[in-house]
Symmetry: C2
Subunit: 367 residues, 2 copies
Amino acid sequence: MSERKAAGRRRVTQQDVARAANVSIAVVSTVVNGKSDTLRVSEQTRARVMQAIHDLQYVPNVAAQSLAGGRNRIIGAFTYQRMFPWESGDFYYDFLLGIEEEAEKTGHHLLLFTGARNEAGERSIFNRNTNVLEVADGSILVGGRIDGEEIRRLAEEGYPFVMIGRRNAAGGNVSWVAADYAAATQDVVDRLHELGHRAILMIVGSRTHETIVERREGYASACARHGLEPRMVAFAAPNPDVPEATPCLADEREVLRFAAEQGVTAVIAESSYVAHRLYETAQEQGVAVPGALSVVGLGDHGDRQNVLAPDPAVTVVRTPSRLIGATAVRMLLRRLESPARDGGTEHLRLTCDLTDGTTLGPAPGFR
Amino acid sequence: MSERKAAGRRRVTQQDVARAANVSIAVVSTVVNGKSDTLRVSEQTRARVMQAIHDLQYVPNVAAQSLAGGRNRIIGAFTYQRMFPWESGDFYYDFLLGIEEEAEKTGHHLLLFTGARNEAGERSIFNRNTNVLEVADGSILVGGRIDGEEIRRLAEEGYPFVMIGRRNAAGGNVSWVAADYAAATQDVVDRLHELGHRAILMIVGSRTHETIVERREGYASACARHGLEPRMVAFAAPNPDVPEATPCLADEREVLRFAAEQGVTAVIAESSYVAHRLYETAQEQGVAVPGALSVVGLGDHGDRQNVLAPDPAVTVVRTPSRLIGATAVRMLLRRLESPARDGGTEHLRLTCDLTDGTTLGPAPGFR
């Protein structure tokens, strides 16, 4: 058991067995694969290797032996949120569809870690000190909420995984694929600027995770580039990540009044849900969209806008969820195929497109 | 390797190891779990057990050791059809949703065998003589098309599995969960009879797999019970499973003409798609449904009616797909929990309900 401990919590490899038995990897491989023709191994050595295999709980997988690369060809999918069962209305649906599609294409099985819980019954990667993901060759971790401690431990153990949607929350030593919300927000400001808008308001929400912060940074940098004054309003609760001077408004009606007073011609809402409500309120109040006011939603995760877009008329930034899922699978396969790169990490930001809505138009009186 | 062969292609158990090493299972368990306090095992015996473990390629799974029952808590899902990626428009979607939901509820992971193919690249359970499903504790086989030879082999090997939707195609020694289409069809005839219908026509399709045959048997037996003459018409190609005298009609217009000529007051279509088209055609021709003619679809798989019902007005038999999926998981877990029952099989037929359509009504002039 102490040997097992010495090998750490990483997946036990033939190398670990070789070290414990004080033989070369070739000898371990010979013993494990029963190829007595390639290398002669004495009975004593064989017994020592078998003992090390036992002590370290090295798992020579039956299925793996018939497949190239010694893998099970199993990709895992795990999330801390409730993701299973995943239905078409769920935010994660499209990510998983992309993962599944790419797994199928590349001849891999997909293991949904529906049962991954700790002793307390909470979704967890580690249960009684065992990494439940180990059944899969590698895994994709989906979702916003994470347990940074577990992720760090996973990375330390050298377990191959790729994160979707989160960047630095788990520390630097993690590979990820994410939507490029900063660039998407910049693109929206660029497009609005091109259409003559000079007073562009951003409605920020109360959530402040890193993809939200990215959007705000994208907005700020694009405004700076165009020499525009960044203007933000918030809803309801004070938000520690927003400048203190940010006006706090009660609802969409107040936003419309504020916009009219301040000469705002375009509103970007972090939450697409808010963008939709603003559009509805404008229609009720007889404010022409996009004639008098352009409205764009940034596709905040919380409102599931990708799937449940209440009105396709509203122009929103669309998270390329399916593509992100597929890209994560390919990234994971690259990591599995070149274990030499284990130390390095790979990061990919994918471009978001705007939907074909009708709420983004030229500023009033623009050409 | 000969030992491995002798153990057959079943999952290698501690019992196999015990037999090969000529020791008791308790000794194998002691060696595998390292519990030297429960049973004293000499070094020679331990070496013999380790050798047998190696020869038989017995896999002492790391994850399993921390979980009750020595299982991975992985349920597999396999289909010969293209099932992955499964989207909400697919016929299999609801089955898988039920499977996933029940797996989540019972703390099991779900392994989608997206990559299960043979050397020829065809969906297959066996690849190079290896049962790819073995990575899962047991599996659920979904779908209409099957390879009877593979299923039989799977059953012979004692691999735990449950089939969805197919009954006897793979031989008697298989556990399954299926919709009770015979009872559903009988219920439809009973209901029509109750509403005064005495001339009930059935439109049969060209497909003749067992669930279709069941529907026809249900129709025939219910007609016999009520003393009604069974009346069938077919579309297009001659069908070897249908009485030779069955009239073959060109389309739904001909069905309406035929029904009017023969005094038919209700039509049951094997395919819900045909039921929908018949309803549309009746509307075009001014035939009152259900006033002059009642129309019911039997929910043929081929047309995906469960998900893509083009018009909720049409009354159809709904396959309880989600419940079937969940029931299959529970059946599989029963089989896993009581390996003693390995020889026996379990069969469950689940009741189908009628949808809340409006095309089923009293016969003309009935009370």
